[in-house]
Subunit: 307 residues, 2 copies
Amino acid sequence: MLGIAEIGRYIPNVRVSNVEKLAKFELDEDFLKNKLGVLSQSIKDEDEKTSDLCVKAFYDLEQKTEINKEDIECCIVVTQNPDYNIPHTSAIVHGKLALEESCACFDISLGCSGYVYGLSTIIAFMQNNGMKKGLLFTADPYSEIIDHDDKNTDLLFGDAATVTLISTEALYKPVDFSFGTKGKEYQQLLCDKKLYMNGRAVFNFTATVVPKHIQNLMQKNNLSDAQIGRYILHQGSRFIVDTITKRLKIAQEKVPFNMLEYGNTVSSSIPLILAEEMKSEHSYMLLSGYGVGLSWASTILQKVEGK
Amino acid sequence: MLGIAEIGRYIPNVRVSNVEKLAKFELDEDFLKNKLGVLSQSIKDEDEKTSDLCVKAFYDLEQKTEINKEDIECCIVVTQNPDYNIPHTSAIVHGKLALEESCACFDISLGCSGYVYGLSTIIAFMQNNGMKKGLLFTADPYSEIIDHDDKNTDLLFGDAATVTLISTEALYKPVDFSFGTKGKEYQQLLCDKKLYMNGRAVFNFTATVVPKHIQNLMQKNNLSDAQIGRYILHQGSRFIVDTITKRLKIAQEKVPFNMLEYGNTVSSSIPLILAEEMKSEHSYMLLSGYGVGLSWASTILQKVEGK
């Protein structure tokens, strides 16, 4: 049974302080802490490419678990800021890591729902092709596309990358997935050279759609709140995480929040938190991502018995 | 059992003649016909986006088979020339076709191997998520990125789109897939604003790797040439299709060639041909795509009994 064996992370050390930008945008520190939830943003070096961030996340994975690169049969990168549009970034990562020629590589283009989609895709793809070990990368450096005059986005995003080792020797495995799309509202979050986000529309969509979506998935799988150890929500902002938490009527202690020091890292936000929970004893964890598309996706992870 | 039920196509009517470009590049018509295999290129309108091409392919699909849009549970677009990088083009197609909110959407970034990869991905994803009907789009309008001073690419590519209906009521289903990547050679085919292709390197890679790869897949599945009704090879050029045909020692009649009037349509080249074979009586067909990445992928389709 394929599932998640381990997660490697890379968060650039360089931080840009949001406190210094407060005057420019006529905002206060209370807003930063309690609404936005971002005091500083992690920023990659200008010449660092998405594939470089992925490679650094892989080095972290290698520190945590033994990996024989020859065993890797599949390498998927989730990104909407690829090194180039042609070729796919996964091929470049494949080259940089010197993976085997028989390794399947492709990119998935998705934003904040990308990790959950990616999990479903890589596990299904590997299972149907008889593969035993694969890598799912997330890396979406928004620092490349931010409009620094736009207070809706200039304070929010951080750069990061993660890599999830998918293996038959898993600690957690997904038991069910659920997906959704409001394609007619795609213009609410769009990058035509520079990023544009209608923050209010994206917030309203999330606050309305996501709690119900999560409840439906739990009901479908006959799971109550008492059985879920963690709700790992995409770190869109402090306000959106708090709003979903309240609407679900769940305890805040079960909803990790960790973007304060680096920002919204798009498809990396969920695995950055999940990495800290890999050795935990929760029977179930629920993951939910939402954003660009507009798109949302949730899954329930179950602890593998005996692990 | 999920497989291919039908294929819709869209090839823009506007053609650019290569004959008129011969003098500029100091080439002759024999080269166009017998080496390149492209007399004219199909070119989309300038303001037509990738999502528009997809929608037009969907209209063709609707002409061929009855589709209830409410039944579509999954929509994947294979492209490396998306409308925007953010959001994914599949979300825009979802909006334009007014698909259901519960429909899962994502893009796959791959070039000429993209259709085969896409088939494996959508079938695996749908199967693991209990879905019964889905759409796999391909659309990669290279007219957006061509360097018109480069004879390696200016004469070669054409715009097109296809959509494959994946359904439990299939005519052909894949029995096995095989994939490969040479990520270290990713720079041989790259787009950094304009397309660059090292034609000789890509040709050498294809001529060396692909025939052996196809033979291995046939051997692994105990299939002889006599059992394969069609070899549908990515239409990279006349010369590459002929070379693979010769190296495989297979009859030219089994290897369709159809790019002469519109060019190399990247991930659409295989489904453009396959669409014509959907009502055929071949027990098996072999598909093989190769190019950007460098990446290659092959599959064997089997006729569904009783269809």
